[in-house]
Symmetry: C2
Amino acid sequence: MRIARTPRAVSAGVPAGDDAPRLRLRMRVMLGEAIAVGPGKIALLEALQRTHSINGAAKRLGMSYRRAWLLIDELNAALTEPAVRSATGGAHGGGSELTAVGEELVRLYRAIEQHAQQACADDIARLLGLLAR
Amino acid sequence: MRIARTPRAVSAGVPAGDDAPRLRLRMRVMLGEAIAVGPGKIALLEALQRTHSINGAAKRLGMSYRRAWLLIDELNAALTEPAVRSATGGAHGGGSELTAVGEELVRLYRAIEQHAQQACADDIARLLGLLAR
């Protein structure tokens, strides 16, 4: 979540220029010292929503298939039910899809980011106002 | 900001056990690709509020005096007015204090963290509910 100081950028979500201060908010769900859910895994699930394959999602994010597979495996193990379901069989082993839990995880994560931004908009603007232009 | 799943920990701010999933929310103010304000600098300002000296604050956070000084110098340069004022003179060069801008920066940063947590409490609880115990 990036919030620039100019009203235009805030209201329209337009990327700000490099010289405008902006707030970056990152959420992670911690299990002990391990990151169970974070921006990287959420981006991976979103890439899967578009590509319907671990290989396609990995390429989209510039990571190896192996790394993508390990992140999904780790995520699936941390949840009450897996976030990703992979079809088996066929020449290419079938595709991968988000389960209902996977969809809900992405939805909640992004909803919290957006809601936090909206709820704190006044204080965020004040804080960014302390930064020199 | 850490939010554990159990009502006890949420309401009382009690640290959760290592086995309970918790949400960690980290905010950074970015200037281009540089972090102008982040958790480290805010913790340093808070340590200064208590110790009234850069050396004391650095020790409290387990960092070198030089690193603390550099962080403060960087922060001061990024703001409309410096966050820290250091007295000169005397055998030990005087102490350091937060300016009004420094106090306001800490206050806003923590207020946003807390407000974001409160505003999103329901969705945060739902998200943490997707994690296996």
